[in-house]
């Protein structure tokens, strides 16, 4: 890398730019530095105590529009047809074929509410439907959405769990959605079962109340985490969901009541935005636990608007573009005046 000519040729050390100072002046600069730092520390401490965040989330905003429809858990419900879709990119797969087929690169998210419940519909491409987890080597397709325990859009301060406020995760699993097998024949055809009728005590996981036990597991696990390895089921399993698979992939609907009194679970209020992120597991790829694809952040806000007709969404960007033009005009004006 050689000298580049132009201004940089003559650029010199910052020492003289910032200051070339005698001892007395250095002292005063030091005092100034201490004063600025002290003021900043006080201001930061105040913000910390007030839990006020000077920054605003800029991530993709998803509006949960109001619907009058009697919405169920059917992912194919017509009420979703006109709901705006947001595509969130996922981190590329970490398998040996980073560009290979079948890797999930994005989820499409829609949101609705009916003043009672929040509905999220998540769609992602997956050519294989991995529902059965009967065999030791079979893993389930799954999707999860994660919120800060206290609804807030304060990237980066709160998201993804801190000791002071953890995260609430709703995980839908294809195998749980399909329900427990009715007979062993479903899992292992032609297997002779010596003791077909057994008591609950012959299922230790069931006895101790493991929420992932096939018998008890709902389609959606409501989980809480607060730092290291603390992920565990929430006391109330208040999240419902259902997914369906077609040629394109999975479409899953998740539902929970807007307000929650349980600790560690956010309440969704009108006009309040909260961060969220999604994760997708591809069972065919032996994905489970940390082997997953994770989305970028988005913010979710409840809206009073109902599902819009086509085209009305142009207005806001139009205004924004005009504002941009004004900024450029000001900048150009500034240049012209000064030159």
């Amino acid at each position: 890398m050689g000298r580049t000519g132009g201004d940089t040729m003559t650029s010199h050390s910052d020492v003289d730019v910032s200051s070339v100072a005698g001892t007395r002046n250095l002292l005063t600069r030091r005092v100034g530095m201490v004063l600025v730092l002290a003021a900043a520390v006080v201001a930061a401490a105040t913000l910390q105590i007030l839990d006020a965040n000077p920054a605003t989330s800029q991530t993709t905003g998803i509006s949960a529009l109001r619907t009058e429809a009697d919405l169920g858990l059917d992912p194919g419900d017509g009420a979703w047809d006109r709901v705006p879709e947001t595509e969130l990119p996922l981190t590329a797969q970490q398998t040996s074929y980073p560009f290979g087929g079948g890797s999930v690169t994005a989820v499409t998210v829609q949101a609705l509410h009916d003043d009672e419940s929040l509905y999220l519909r998540v769609t992602w491409p997956d050519s294989t439907s991995d529902v059965g987890t009967g065999a030791p080597e079979a893993f389930s397709d799954a999707v999860a959405v994660q919120f800060p325990s206290v609804a807030a859009a304060t990237v980066p301060a709160v998201c993804m769990g801190q000791a002071s406020s953890g995260v609430n995760i709703w995980q839908w699993r294809a195998d749980s959605d399909a329900g427990p097998p009715d007979t062993m024949d479903e899992i292992r055809p032609n297997t002779v079962v010596d003791v077909p009728e057994t008591a609950n005590e012959d299922y230790p996981a069931r006895v101790v109340g493991n929420p992932f036990d096939a018998e008890d597991a709902g389609a959606v696990q409501n989980l809480l985490a607060e730092g290291f390895g603390t992920i565990g089921p929430a006391e109330d399993q208040a999240v419902a969901g259902h997914g369906e698979h077609d040629d394109q992939g999975w479409t899953v609907v998740l539902r929970r009541e807007l307000s929650s009194t349980a600790g560690g679970e956010p309440s969704f209020r009108m006009g309040e935005a909260t961060d969220m992120a999604f994760a997708v597991w591809d069972g065919a790829n032996e994905e489970r636990n940390g082997l997953k694809s994770v989305s970028a952040f988005a913010t979710l806000a409840l809206s009073n608007d109902t599902v819009p007709g086509a085209g009305s969404g142009w207005i806001i960007p139009l205004v924004a573009v005009m504002l941009a033009a004004v900024v450029i005009a000001i900048a150009r004006g500034g240049m012209r005046r000064s030159s």
């Binding site: 890398m1 050689g2 000519g5 132009g6 201004d7 003559t10 650029s11 010199h12 910052d14 020492v15 003289d16 730019v17 910032s18 200051s19 070339v20 005698g22 600069r29 100034g32 600025v36 900043a40 930061a44 913000l47 910390q48 000077p54 920054a55 605003t56 800029q58 991530t59 905003g61 705006p84 595509e87 990119p89 996922l90 981190t91 590329a92 970490q94 990237v155 980066p156 301060a157 769990g161 000791a163 002071s164 995260v167 290291f228 992120a277 940390g290 994770v294 952040f297 085209g311 969404g313 924004a320 941009a324 900024v327 450029i328 000001i330 900048a331 150009r332 500034g334 240049m335 000064s338």
Partner: protein
């Protein structure tokens, strides 16, 4: 030497702080705070929740979480101060570049404040922030020759990601749906190119030590990505807006480029260049929050400030300037 000192430090007479001291003073505090925030909050506490087998570190985690939030607040407060100082300092200059940068930085500040007060929505915020960054990149790059390449690449990357973000937001508002994945690929590729070419900004052949530092950091990052891709990619996505689409070694090269540039700048005593680089790449291309965009804006304005200051002292006393650099 004495001539320069006389010329540039009228403060000597009063022993008081002058406006000249304010920029290095504020940035000298802001940059370490920003780095601390990145390390503690964005890297440590976010990784920690994904490390399951470390329950015995729960206490450490709690302390780090509180400390992380504090460093974030501190960095945010200092960033506001730094941006304000830059606006004032740049506005005092007569050069059109400085005036433009001052205007763009001020508009960003107003935008961030308006967004915080919920006076404007996300789409408007994105458009305004994108415009400010575009104007600043153009201003910072003009007249720089080849050293403008990394800045232009960075600006293009930022705009590509912002355009994707905007497309998503427009779609979310009920507008037409655009397939934005290509914009993300483009943005990520440009961002990596910007980082890899960062040493061009310094414009000096990097020392052997700087190359060693850079290579070590690059190998570390590439190794971590190969070894534990999932966690590292979550971190790059959530902190820098990079989804990890490309082969891991490219990320190593990108990190190496940035580290080489920063180390070279420091070793030459060019703190401002180093600070600006840190702010630019810690802010990065992901449109996460006005805080992170603020870091980018501060980095870019600092480059403009630096160019103007250098030009002035060069005009004033070329010989002494050259002598100092040597």
């Amino acid at each position: 030497m004495s001539v320069v000192a006389e010329r540039l430090t009228p403060a000597r007479r009063s022993a008081a702080l002058t406006h000249r001291d304010v920029v290095p003073l504020v940035f000298g505090l802001t940059v370490p705070a920003v780095v601390a925030e990145l390390m503690i909050l964005r890297l440590f506490t976010r990784t920690a929740i994904h490390i399951p087998a470390l329950e015995f570190l729960a206490g450490t985690y709690r302390v780090a979480a509180v400390l992380g939030r504090f460093t974030f607040h501190l960095a945010a407060v200092l960033l506001i101060a730094a941006l304000s100082v830059l606006v004032v300092e740049l506005a005092r200059r007569v050069d059109p570049q400085a005036r433009t940068a001052a205007a763009a930085t001020a508009v960003f500040g107003v935008t961030a404040a308006a967004a915080r007060l919920e006076l404007i929505d996300t789409v408007t915020t994105t458009v305004l922030v994108g415009t400010c960054v575009a104007v600043l990149v153009w201003t910072a790059a003009s007249g720089r020759g080849i050293s403008s390449v990394p800045l232009l690449l960075f600006g293009a990357a930022f705009l590509a990601v912002a355009a994707h973000s905007l497309a998503q937001q427009v779609a979310a508002e009920g507008g037409p749906t655009v397939d934005g994945a290509r914009l993300l690929y483009l943005g990520e590729g440009l961002a990596l190119a910007a980082a890899a070419s960062a040493p061009l900004i310094i414009g000096v052949r990097p020392s052997r030590r700087a190359v060693w530092f850079g290579a070590a950091a690059g190998v570390l990052v590439a190794g971590a990505m190969i070894g534990n891709g999932a966690t590292v990619k979550i971190l790059t996505l959530w902190n820098f807006g990079l989804a990890g689409y490309f082969p891991s070694p490219l990320y190593g090269i990108a990190v190496a480029g940035v580290v080489i540039a920063i180390v070279t700048a420091y070793r030459l005593g060019r703190r401002f260049d180093a600070w600006a680089l840190v702010l630019l790449f810690v802010g990065a291309v992901g449109l996460h929050s006005t805080y992170q965009s603020g870091l980018v804006v501060a980095g870019l304005s600092l480059f403009v400030y630096l160019t103007c200051t250098r030009r002035r002292s060069a005009d004033a006393d070329e010989t002494s300037a050259a002598a100092l650099e040597a």
